[in-house]
Amino acid sequence: MASELKVPTMAEFFASGTVPEVLFWVGCAGSFDDRAKKITKAFVKILNKANVSFAVLGTEESCTGDPAKRAGNEFLFQMQAVTNIEVLNAYEIKKIVTACPHCFNTIKNEYPGLGGNYEVVHHTQFLKDLLNDGRISMEGGNFKGKRITFHDPCYLGRANGVYEAPRDLIRKLDAELIEMKSCKQRGLCCGAGGAQMFKEPEKGDKDVNIERTEQALETKPEIIAAGCPFCNTMMTDGVKNKEKEDSVQVMDIAEMIATAEDL
């Protein structure tokens, strides 16, 4: 129901002389990848439901430069960063929320040195704050008692020490959270980081996402929860490779909450 989504842009806010509470940085995956777009929409539905005053940059948003930087192209990264910072600063952005841990990490940690200082939160942190402030309520619904394992995105967990916000949300859904043998600080990468998403893997015995999916499947989950569009793709591919797509779903936490709330 596209018409139900309210997605105001910064330009619209600016034209009306008002400022939103938070900027939603959608990211390239969230804007263009068919699977990730569903996460974006689910998150927007929650924002709409909670009456959060937010805006997106829309066509003024551009890649943060993360994949370029991790691939070694510092020059391209900084060109992207400086351009984005000019836009963000022109709109006097104070707070940014994003559903992509790569965008989250880059804007939070690498933009300040180039003149971009914002409060940056991952969408799971933002959702948890909404919950704590009573702006959304969550009941398990169809997730009640389900076996769910959470795959830590490297750039959210190890890179920035955020482990509990996504887990707290899963617990709030009355689901049974089961940890994989490597989790949190020792969580295994999905195989997409460091620009691997955009290239063929080097020669080896197996692909990283298969190894990680095997770890996830060991917990006998009904749902593999993710907090990153790239992890989501890698784990979905892994589940398909193992021919488990009928019994195991890969879902972003925002999608789980939107589904539970029947949004």
Partner: protein, 441 residues
């Protein structure tokens, strides 16, 4: 002639320590071949990290068995070194068990040294079994073949020999004390070596003195040998873990350094008043090389990291690329960096303080692009290192060289970067379509 042993001892001590000091200065020279890195901010946090991670071994216990064994050996060596102080003073002044005046405190000290020595022996034996009988996977990666494997075992043998010499010395001493031998006044308690003493029963005082003295001399000579072995082995971590944890990264693990040289260029490009055709100033410095292709391009902290690595392989065993059979091993990145740095250092020594181009570099001759491109930048290696080594930063610096100096990225990545450059996304989608999702059902 009665001072001959004292003189021999002092000479041994001076030679042993002198040689060590020489190696330390070589080590320092090599480390500072690296680039400047200002890491003096936030000293309280740095001291805290050093106290917690190096002194407190906090990250060792992430793996409980290896962690507990390591703590035994660590505590054992640190505390038994109090005894070494006594040995050195005895050696210089020709006294015997000089600290015996401490009375009951001395008894307690010697007693606890002995218990620790036994525990160290047990721990070292278990370490040996893990390496040679159980054959733990992380000790059998390709980079561990040859010298690194031998080195690991040799260190265990030296530690074992030192502990046995210590206990033999005490056991003979205890027996001599029982026999009321001259110069061997009753001092110390010997909870462990008193079990060795029965082996000495029936021996004459002169034989026992010979055994005691031999063990004493070999023990101190062994310690001086071990001290000098450090530089040639992976074992430097017992010293360098302290500065290395002090200078460890304080920022979030996901925060990679922004290159200032690039920032300067980007700022100039964005400056509408800049003259793009301006000649560089006469006195302008040669622009920095982007990224790293050899050890001199790395920072001194990265080089300190390389010397600090003790090849435990926790990084490699946590690495997703390595776990799935790719060539990348973070431990090998550190070992290669150290080996190349040693090669460069020897080159400088051989050429009167000047580095002569040897046609080699860290990239390709040691670390291949295949290894570098297998990294997912997931920080598992950084998290796994018990002493704050950062292999990922070296991988990233070398990728920068490959991409910005050599334009040698894999073609898929070139496509991705081309897309970002042209339409602001890693895929070929138009920036004007960025909000289309909001209108799709």
């Amino acid at each position: 002639m009665q001072y001959l042993p004292n003189i021999i001892f002092v000479v041994l001590l001076i030679v042993g320590i002198g040689f060590f000091v020489k190696n330390v200065s070589r080590l320092k020279r090599n480390i500072f071949l690296g680039k400047e890195a200002s890491l003096t901010y936030n000293k309280p946090q740095r001291w805290k990290n050093m106290a917690k991670i190096a002194l407190g071994q906090s990250k060792m216990v992430v793996r409980p068995i290896a962690g507990a064994l390591h703590i035994i050996v660590y505590v054992g060596f640190v505390i038994i070194n109090i005894e070494v102080l006594e040995i050195i003073l005895d050696g210089i002044f020709g006294t015997h068990r000089m600290f015996a005046v401490l009375g009951p405190i001395y008894d307690f000290l010697i007693g606890s040294f002995e218990v620790l020595a036994l525990l160290v022996i047990i721990a070292v034996v278990v370490f040996w079994i893990r390496r040679n009988v159980i054959k733990l996977k992380r000790f059998f990666k390709p980079e561990m073949e040859g010298w690194p494997k031998k080195d690991g075992n040799l260190i265990l043998y030296i530690e074992l020999v030192l502990m046995f010499l210590f206990l033999t010395m005490n056991g003979a001493d205890y027996q001599l004390q029982q026999m009321g031998a001259e110069h061997y006044a009753a001092a110390g308690s010997f909870p462990i070596s008193s079990f060795i003493a029965p082996l000495f029963e029936g021996m004459s005082i002169s034989t026992l003195v010979l055994i005691e003295r031999t063990a004493w001399w070999l023990h101190i000579a062994g310690i001086l040998f071990f001290l000098n072995y450090l530089y040639y082995s992976k074992h430097l971590h017992i010293l360098l873990a302290f500065p290395n944890t002090y200078y460890g990264k304080l920022t979030p693990k996901g925060q990679f350094r922004n290159l200032q040289s690039v920032t300067d260029e980007v700022k100039m490009m964005m400056d509408p008043d800049a003259d793009p055709y301006a000649e560089p100033a006469e006195d302008a410095a040669v622009p920095d090389k982007f990224g790293a292709s050899d050890v001199q391009d790395l920072s001194w902290v990265q080089l300190l990291n390389a010397y600090t690595c003790t090849e435990c392989g926790r990084c490699t065993s946590e690495c997703p690329a390595n776990q799935t059979g790719k060539k990348l091993s973070p431990r090998k990145i550190m070992m290669d960096t150290r080996d190349r740095l040693e090669e460069v250092g020897k080159n400088i020594d051989a050429n009167k303080g000047e580095f002569k181009d040897d046609g080699k570099q860290l990239l390709n001759d040691y670390i291949t692009p295949e290894e570098l491109w297998a990294c997912t930048s997931c920080n598992a290696c950084v998290e796994a290192c018990p002493i704050s080594i950062d292999p990922l930063s070296i991988i990233m610096d070398m990728r920068q060289y490959l991409v910005m100096e050599e334009s040698a990225a894999p073609s898929d990545l070139n496509n991705m970067m081309g897309n970002i450059e042209n339409n602001g996304a890693p895929w070929p989608f138009n920036q004007m379509d960025r909000l289309n999702w909001s209108k799709e059902s």
